[in-house]
Amino acid sequence: MSDLYLPAAFDTPEIRLNAAEKTLNISGESYPENGHSSFAPVLKHLETELANSSADRFVVNFRLTYFNSLSAKILYKLMQLLDNHAAQYPDSIAVNWYCDAEDDMMLDFAEGLKADFAHIRLDIDTESPPNSA
């Protein structure tokens, strides 16, 4: 088990994986030029931690205010990883998607994830929206 912490930059979100608590928090804005190099280590780390946590409950909190199309693909890939795990261990993954009630693109995106990844419990929370940068 190991933690992962990447501080936010102007174009990348803060990423905090707490192995003991079994939580992953992703907050801020994401529009790097090369999503693969920015996020590949995160996906790899998450994969290892999920394998370790097996049927334990793992919670992912998204507090994103903006992401570019490249990041959208990475987020989708991350969700796919979580969904595969939840297919193997039912009810192990909970995702909380915090967003502004007026951010229709963000809401549509989250609704799309909810429809595509049926093994994950995904809650969309517009009551406590993330602060925009």
């Binding site: 102007f10 174009d11 529009y31 790097p32 030029e33 090369n34 999503g35 693969h36 903006y66 570019n68 199309s69 490249l70 959208a72 693909k73 990475i74 989708y76 890939k77 502004d100 007026e102 951010d103 229709d104 693109m105 549509d108 799309g112 595509d116 925009s132 940068a133």
Partner: protein, 176 residues
């Protein structure tokens, strides 16, 4: 040279304010610093969060497309301007001729689709167009993102580059 981004789709009568104009090489550093400037400007003007969000998103997609695909050392021009309650994001850059087909394909597709169809196509691309590792970023999703956010059809044009017949000028105008 790229300055005719101003007069390709607009005359000066069509705009009553200029938010910013940038011309030069476009790197991620430029995207970030001009982006911060744009955010500040948008916060200063009394505009809906939704419009500001859409504008910023379009700005990033256009700039990153230029950073990735533009010929001539990723040089390009971008202008954000407005009239009344409308905002426009315009860009100009040179592309290598063989890229024209792919760009035209995406833009013609989105211009013939309803908003609902664009949303569906966007989700379809998310499922199947995975991030590449070879440095190409998959422009398809970027054009769909623009189409989802633009309040009017996207305007675009290609023009010959008199100085280099292997290249074309590519102009884009997105309205909010």
């Amino acid at each position: 040279m790229l300055k005719n981004v101003f007069d390709y789709f607009l005359t000066s009568d069509d705009i009553d304010r200029l938010v910013f104009y940038y011309e030069g090489p476009i790197s991620q550093q430029v995207v970030v610093s001009m982006g911060n400037l744009l955010k500040e400007q948008l916060q200063m003007t009394d505009k809906s969060q939704t419009k500001a969000r859409r504008l910023f998103s379009a700005y990033v997609e256009i700039m990153q497309n230029i950073a990735h695909y533009a010929a001539n050392n990723h040089k390009g021009a971008i202008m954000v301007c407005g009239q009344n309650d409308k905002y426009f994001v315009l860009s100009a850059n040179q592309i290598n001729k063989p890229n024209e087909t792919a760009i035209r394909h995406y833009l013609e597709q989105v211009s013939n689709m309803s908003l609902e169809d664009i949303k569906q196509a966007y989700r379809e691309l998310l499922r199947h167009e995975l991030p590449d590792t070879d440095g190409s970023k998959g422009a398809g999703l970027g054009f769909y993102t623009l189409a989802l956010q633009s309040s009017e059809p996207i305007h675009y044009a290609f023009a010959p580059d008199p100085e280099n017949e292997q290249q074309l000028y590519f102009y884009l105008k997105v309205t909010f």
